[in-house]
């Protein structure tokens, strides 16, 4: 197991290095000068030159890369061009904000979707199955920004149950913080539940067709015992992998949801940085997202044998 972990970490290092170089090159290929953007149409050649010098953009690309790469190896991801803040603490701050919303939403979605998918599979081609699959398809098809706005208008504006804008951190006021994240969590929960129900149903259907399930039924076991004691562990594996992918994907940024609900999270930071051509922040965010993706999927792979002992760490 330890060998497996070290091997995966060792594989992640070149991945992240390649990612670092690729990100650096690619974002500089995008047209747009961050200094010109900061100065707008009021830029004069002199003010532009001053700003290029201050931001280090007057140096050649290899020099810029060398400086950034060298600093990165020391854990320094540079300083934001727009806000002048160090990038790593900024990314971490925003990440925790996004992570809370994502983790709660994915946990709730998993808790609801896995049993719902299994029930749909158990009741295949009945009204229950049709209802669950139909609901899942509908939820998955609705764009998150539209779903978010609908919740905002209904729960926030019409019913006045929840605040429409703003954000409060848990450390400041846990009660108020909870209120402010209900709608963003609901948006993600509903959308991801749609995805997970379908996967859970599909993998359960496959397992329910296997001989050992027939054997278990022939032994006289109740349907709930067949489902939860025998089918669940084998059926959950693929869904668990999908949960890992969904988690990694969402932790990388839920910019749309953060924009609609005014949450100062990682996704919004990345999108704002792209629009502002804030190279250090873009590089820092993308590197961090890649790291999170690798880490989450490593954890998923390490926990997989718990559900399916046939699959070892190797």
């Amino acid at each position: 197991m330890l060998h497996f972990v070290f091997k995966r970490i060792a594989m992640a290092v070149p991945t992240l290095l390649i990612m670092a170089v690729t990100v650096f090159v690619l974002i500089r290929l995008i047209p747009g000068d961050p200094a010109a953007l900061m100065l707008g149409d009021l830029a004069t050649p002199a003010s532009l030159a001053d700003l290029h010098e201050r931001l280090g953009l007057d140096r050649s690309l290899p020099v810029q890369f060398g400086i950034w790469f060298g600093n990165m190896l020391h854990g320094d991801l540079g300083t934001s061009i727009t806000s002048n803040q160090p990038v790593l603490p900024l990314v971490l701050d925003r990440f925790w904000i996004s992570a809370r919303v994502v983790l709660i939403a994915v946990l709730l979605a998993s808790l609801f979707a896995v049993p719902a998918g299994m029930i749909a599979a158990w009741r295949q081609n009945t009204a229950t199955d049709l209802f669950l699959v139909g609901t899942a398809t509908l939820l998955y098809s609705i764009p998150t920004f539209w779903l978010g706005l609908l919740l905002l208008l209904f729960l926030g504006l019409q019913l006045n149950w929840l605040p429409v804008v703003g954000y409060v951190s848990f450390s400041e006021d846990p009660g108020a913080a909870l209120l402010y994240i209900v709608m963003p969590v609901m948006t993600l929960f509903l959308h991801e539940m749609g995805v997970l129900i379908r996967m859970s149903r599909a993998s359960t259907l496959e397992v329910l067709r296997l001989d050992y399930i027939t054997h278990a039924r022939a032994k006289g076991l109740s349907e709930s015992a067949v489902l939860w004691r025998h089918a669940f562990k084998n059926a959950f594996g693929p869904t668990w992998t999908l949960i890992g992918l969904v988690l990694g994907n969402l932790l990388g940024g839920i910019a749309v949801v953060e924009t609609v609900f005014t949450i100062p999270g990682l996704g919004r930071l990345l999108v704002d940085a792209i629009f502002a051509r804030d190279y250090p922040v873009i590089q820092g965010c993308l590197l961090f997202v890649a790291f999170v993706y690798v880490a989450v999927n490593l954890v998923v792979d390490l926990l997989y044998p718990l559900f399916d002992p046939r699959v070892t760490a190797e």
Partner: protein, 516 residues
């Protein structure tokens, strides 16, 4: 479930009530500010917030002229090179320290220090033509500034909002190591808290001394505030801002022009349009093989029904203006009001004269919110196609379009210039030598001479004559088509009055809460 939510809601409402008390309001910003350091790291949102806390020697009136702000009076020497600013008495900084000429000197020296990164340094150190040679403080209430040559735009440059109004700050704005801390200025509000990505709060400065006047006038006039505090809340999404206004979570916000009629139908919100000196334009690249032909440019101008275009992109609220002089300017006269005439027959005749054979003309536009770039391009395309011009639209992200603008790499562009209150600065925005500044639109040495002259002389009648001449030449040469000045749509809840924005920026020192 309902009881649980109600209990939680009660907590939130109680927390919210503290900020919604008597005279506190919430203003929506579509993006976080960049810093609290005036004129250093800024954008429009940053200027809007910071200018509630700091003031300079002079400021803009609503009509674009410059008036004393921290100065009580401004005198100019006969040769036009030396300005004497007499400071107002009784003005104090937020830390209680009285304003003296030493503070003005300190602030100026700090701005001119390259380490400060003041974005307007090059406008005063000679690199952009004007140099402040000497700044002195002969006594506690007097500051003199001596220029290398007379300039009609010196006070304008000091008043510019993107320069932070050349705000006069106290030394306590810096930390002991000399780095920026927070603005300790003389404005009606003092700095409260900045939660990055979330909000900025400012609180009333009880020791504030307002310039004379009975109502706000641009950045001057009466500035004493009735508000106890203001929260500038970051709300990036326009739909969310609209919902926030309707729910009362936000009191003031810029909105989409298409939302104004709907908001005015609600019981709790009022929305309207406010002018700005922003110029909405179609730019031509006069070095393009096709658009280098003045007849073709004139044909495009004749093909556009500008009043109809302006009405369409401003929901009927905008006024057509083809002049580089803003409609709100004192220099906007009958000559400036003469613009292009919609004449499709003339357009077709001009196309024939130009030898146009149907080659594609690409109009670059962007889809930023609050600018009519894309909508204007779509309407212009239809009007141009109606007379036989093969107009195509290329939509680019704003930063990419700005890059193309700066390098001159385009044929035609739907572009909005930020506001410049003095018409000379307005013409300077798009006129100049393309060889050294590819972003310039109108490259004509004779025009440059006129702009240099009008930037130097102060006599209003002479300046008017030059602006009139510039306008006539612009109509003839058609290096660009200015179609209107800005009409920004803003809304406020009915519990707040007097929160009229200025030049597209929130301005709330004149606001008061009239009900809950």
């Amino acid at each position: 479930m309902t009881r649980f939510l109600a209990a939680l809601l009660g907590t939130a409402l109680a927390a919210g009530a503290a900020t919604a008390s008597a005279q506190s309001i919430t203003v929506a910003l579509n993006a976080d500010i960049r810093s609290t350091n005036p004129g250093v790291n800024r954008d429009d949102n940053t200027d809007a917030v910071v200018l509630h806390m700091v003031e300079g020697l002079v400021g803009y009136r609503a009509n674009g002229s410059v008036a004393p702000l921290l100065a009580e009076s401004v005198e100019r020497s006969d040769d036009g090179k030396t300005y004497s600013f007499r400071l107002r008495q009784g003005v104090t900084f937020h830390n209680g320290a009285p304003l003296t000429s030493a503070d003005v000197l300190w602030s100026w020296n700090r701005y001119m220090d390259p380490k400060t990164d003041w974005r307007c340094r090059s406008d005063f150190d000679g690199r952009n033509g004007l140099k402040v040679e000497k700044v002195e403080a002969p006594d506690d209430r007097t500051v003199t500034m001596t220029l290398d040559h007379a300039s009609a735009l010196f006070l304008d440059a000091l008043a510019r909002t993107d320069c932070g109004g050349t705000a006069i700050l106290h030394k306590d704005s810096l930390k002991p190591d000399g780095s920026w801390d927070k603005p300790v200025g003389t404005g009606p509000f003092r700095f409260g808290e900045w939660r990055r990505g979330e909000y900025v709060t400012v609180a009333r400065f009880d020791g504030y001394q307002s310039p004379p006047g009975d109502k706000p006038d641009g950045m001057v006039g009466a500035k004493r505030t009735a508000l106890a505090s203001v929260k500038f809340l970051v709300v990036p999404d326009a739909s969310t801002a609209k919902a926030a206004l309707a729910s009362g979570a936000v009191d003031v916000a810029q909105v989409l022009e298409t939302d104004v009629p709907e908001l005015n139908k609600t019981r709790t919100v009022e929305a309207g349009f406010y002018p700005s000196t922003t110029k909405h334009t179609f730019l031509f690249q006069t070095r393009d093989p096709l658009l280098g032909n003045v007849k073709l440019r004139q044909a495009i101008a004749a093909s556009l029904d500008i009043p109809q275009l302006v009405a369409a992109v401003t929901n009927g609220e905008g006024k057509p203006n083809n002049s580089g002089v803003p409609v709100t300017s004192a220099y906007y006269d009958a000559v400036q009001a003469k613009g292009y005439t919609y004449d499709p027959a003339k357009a077709k005749a001009l196309l024939k004269e130009a030898g146009y054979k149907g080659e594609p003309i690409k109009i670059i536009a962007n889809k930023r919110v609050h600018v009519p770039s894309f909508n204007a391009a779509v309407i212009a395309q239809a009007m141009m196609q109606a007379v036989g011009i093969n107009a195509q639209i290329e939509v680019l992200e704003w930063v990419t379009q700005l890059d193309r603008y700066n390098t001159g790499n385009y044929q035609m562009m739907s572009f909005s210039y930020s506001g410049r209150l003095d018409p000379a600065l307005s013409y300077e925005q798009f006129s100049g030598p393309k060889d050294s500044q590819p972003r310039k639109i109108w490259d004509d040495p004779a025009v440059q001479d006129l702009i240099t002259k009008v930037s130097t002389i102060s006599d209003e009648a002479q300046r008017q004559a030059i602006f009139d001449e510039l306008h006539k030449r612009q109509m003839e040469a058609t290096p660009l088509i200015i179609f209107s000045n800005g009409q920004e749509a803003w809304a406020h809840t009915k519990r707040v009055q007097g929160a009229d924005p200025w030049e597209g920026k929130a301005r709330v020192w004149g606001a008061r809460v009239v009900g809950n």
